[in-house]
């Protein structure tokens, strides 16, 4: 069959018109998706956290999009992702790029150092920023619209310190922490809380990024005759290696760690080295609300393994649901209205606990202390701020 000049031009014109008006779904008026930005560390040393964040977001979005009653005006959630990698410059570059993607809110990095690096850019845009970064300073940077969906280091460090001193009867505690914003911020909080008990740490050791041999740091704590060791570390892999090296260097004192110590990955690598350790955690599987129980069940079904406890998947899952609830309540996705709705959050039941927003944007005000045995964490006590 030959195509004449007239038919050829007609077909071309039809094609051009179709190209302009877009695919049939748009012609039929399919609802415009609600675009949410996500900046996890997809590559680099914290890629594991990035994977956990992406899994948490995917689960929440799949659940919400599958339930018309949870989707505001029938508009499905669409996640726009940029890689924050492992350094601050890349995180800021990712933020600048994603801000051009017409997003309604941003699920900001869980790494506090990146949140703090991004703050100057965040101040110039009025949209909701939801972070899992726990450094106290994060919500004191003057970023309007920054909400923290996990317990701040002030709460975690206070609970860890009180537990070490009051429950483990520590009189000569040592601190070992990462030298990043998370680690130093947490260690500062522990020192401040120890002062309330009139105790100074006998050693306060830090290690730089990518350190793998912790001999000097551990021996320093051991030589100082510490009777308890408080760990404040973000990276689960580092935590596991430290635990193994603590055991191999013969330091046998009670250990109380920040949430990464209870991370599933840390437990799987550390194995018996983690037995007997205590950890301050966002939530403990089996010891929390029906929302948390449902999250663990659905996560395990979708990904074939249990979620980590807190730092990666849980907070960000809560974040997507908080946004969905805000949009449904206010019947719009207007960022300014969303900020007001989020600020008014009170007694919202999430995976990590009950969310109530304070004046600084902190949503979570409780933490659990757990004990590790056979790579499982069991609840010892819950501590509220």
């Amino acid at each position: 069959m030959s195509l004449g000049r007239k038919n050829f031009l007609a077909a071309g014109a039809a094609g051009a018109v179709l190209g302009l008006i877009g695919p049939p779904s748009i012609v039929l008026g399919a609802p415009e998706p609600i675009r949410i930005g996500l900046i996890p560390p997809i590559t680099g040393a914290n890629a594991l956290l990035g994977q956990q964040e992406q899994d948490g977001v995917k689960l929440a979005v799949d659940e919400i999009n599958a339930r018309p009653d949870k989707v505001f005006a029938g508009r499905p959630f669409e996640i726009v992702t940029e890689d924050a990698t492992n350094d601050n410059q890349s995180a800021v570059a990712a933020l600048n790029k994603i801000l051009g993607e017409n997003i309604e809110a941003l699920l900001a990095p869980v790494l506090s150092t990146q949140v703090q690096a991004m703050a100057p850019v965040m101040k110039t845009h009025l949209i909701p920023w939801l972070t899992g970064g726990t450094a106290v300073k994060n919500t004191q940077l003057g970023v309007d619209g920054l909400f923290r969906l996990r317990a701040s280091d002030a709460i975690t460090a206070a609970a860890m310190t009180a537990f070490a001193v009051q429950d483990q009867h520590a009189k000569r505690p040592a601190i070992l922490h990462a030298s990043d914003a998370f680690g130093t911020g947490g260690a500062d909080q522990i020192v401040a809380n120890l002062k309330k008990f009139s105790i100074d740490p006998v050693a306060n050791e830090q290690f730089p990024k990518d350190t793998k041999d912790f001999t000097a740091e551990i021996l320093k704590c051991k030589s100082a005759n510490c009777d308890a060791l408080l760990l404040y570390i973000q990276n689960p892999s580092d935590t596991a290696v430290i635990l193994q090296q603590i055991r191999s260097l013969g330091l046998s004192v009670p250990i109380v760690g920040s949430p990464s110590l209870g991370n599933q990955t840390a437990l799987e690598i550390a194995k018996a080295s983690a037995d007997g350790c205590y950890v301050g955690l966002d939530f403990i599987v089996g010891a929390n609300s029906p929302v948390a129980t449902r999250f663990v069940r659905n996560f395990s079904q979708q990904f074939g393994h249990a979620p980590d406890v807190g730092s990666g998947s849980g907070w960000i899952y809560d974040g997507v649901y908080l946004l969905a609830a805000a949009y449904a309540k206010q019947k719009s996705t207007d960022p300014k209205t969303t900020l007001a709705t989020l600020r008014a959050t009170k007694d919202y039941a999430g995976v990590l606990g009950t969310f109530t927003c304070d004046g600084e944007g902190n949503m979570i005000h409780q933490i659990s202390i757990g004990k590790i045995e056979n790579s499982k964490v069991t609840l010892v006590k819950k501590v509220s701020a």
């Binding site: 994977q51 730089p208 793998k212 041999d213 001999t215 000097a216 021996l219 055991r247 191999s248 690598i269």
Partner: protein, 305 residues
């Protein structure tokens, strides 16, 4: 800070262990530099890649491209398999990253090695995921304890294997025809070619040997450090500093430089501040360059006016 002899001995052993790894990786740098005159920035990834390959065959369950593998082969068979696979990889690396660029100066080759490094890290993430992997230890006991000293058998293995490799290398270079051909190629490729040495093959062999040094380093540190795609990065950086401290291009210098940095940074972390553990390696580097720019064992090179 009190001076505890047990703690000092502990620091010395652990410092020697990590220093041995720096020395092995530094040797890899030096051998390739001597053979082709470029710094191979993928040397650290030659520590990481074989660790991932080994754990895929060793561990009871490892996800490879998202598929759970349950090979769990005998360790000795796995180590031999990894050495064979990494030999093939080294020949491929030589053929793809170096050979086509060999006549275009040093810069394209250096950029090529950086490209290989980035590729390998991303390849590792896509293949094995971002989850750090626990590498099974060949020893049943975590530590050997005597008189308050806690020594990891793995650390003793690292020191012993490094010492054996250094002796092997001495015999190879000083007592065998192949070693002498490698030395001749390193000193002057044109003259070596005129003497009938098959320079291309010798260079390829040097790449294989260098990759295998990284492979052995990876298999030695993986049980202590866990396997991550970043595991070779800092080791390579310290090893690079070690090779400069020893005198870039000098083989005994790389070994002494590696051991020096390992021991000094471990003691420095203990007696000065653990916050500066990494900085100490580079303070040593700067100090050596100021006092002796050619490195501890390097020969002074003067340019004619």
């Amino acid at each position: 800070m009190h001076f505890d002899s047990i703690a000092n001995l502990q620091l010395l052993i652990n410092g020697f262990a990590i220093g041995s790894i720096y020395a092995l990786v530094a040797l890899g740098f030096v051998l390739i530099y001597n053979a082709v005159g470029v710094v191979n920035f993928a040397q650290g990834d030659f520590v990481m890649l074989p660790s991932y390959v080994a754990i895929s065959f060793l561990a009871p369950s490892v996800a490879v491209f998202g598929v759970q593998m349950h090979w769990q082969l005998p360790p000795l068979a796995v180590y031999l398999l990894v050495i064979v696979l990494m030999t093939g990889f080294a020949l491929l690396f030589n053929r793809i990253a170096y050979y086509p660029l060999r006549d275009r100066g040093w810069m394209p080759v250096v950029i090529s090695t950086i490209g290989v490094s980035i590729f390998l890290r991303n390849f590792a993430q896509l293949t094995w995921g971002s989850q750090p992997l626990s590498f099974p230890s060949p020893f049943t006991a975590d530590t050997i304890d005597f008189g308050g000293l806690h020594v990891r058998p793995q650390d003793l293995l690292i020191i012993a294997v490094t010492a054996t490799l250094i002796m092997f290398q001495y015999v190879l270079f000083e007592k065998t025809s192949l070693g002498k051909q490698m030395q001749a190629t390193a000193q002057d490729r044109t003259t070596a070619r005129l003497l009938g040495i098959r320079v291309g093959r010798i260079v390829a062999f040097t790449f294989v040997y260098s990759v295998l040094l990284g492979t052995i380093s990876g298999l030695l540190v993986a049980p202590v450090f866990t396997v991550t795609k970043e595991m070779g990065g800092l080791i390579a950086l310290k090893a690079f500093a070690a090779s400069i401290v020893g005198g870039f291009g000098n083989i005994p210098g790389a070994i002494i430089g590696g051991l020096t940095i390992g021991v000094v940074e471990t003691f420095g972390g203990f007696y000065i501040s653990s916050a500066y553990t990494d900085a100490i390696a580079f303070v040593i580097l700067i100090a050596v360059l100021l006092v002796r720019p050619q490195g501890l064992f390097g020969e002074r090179v003067a340019e004619k006016a």
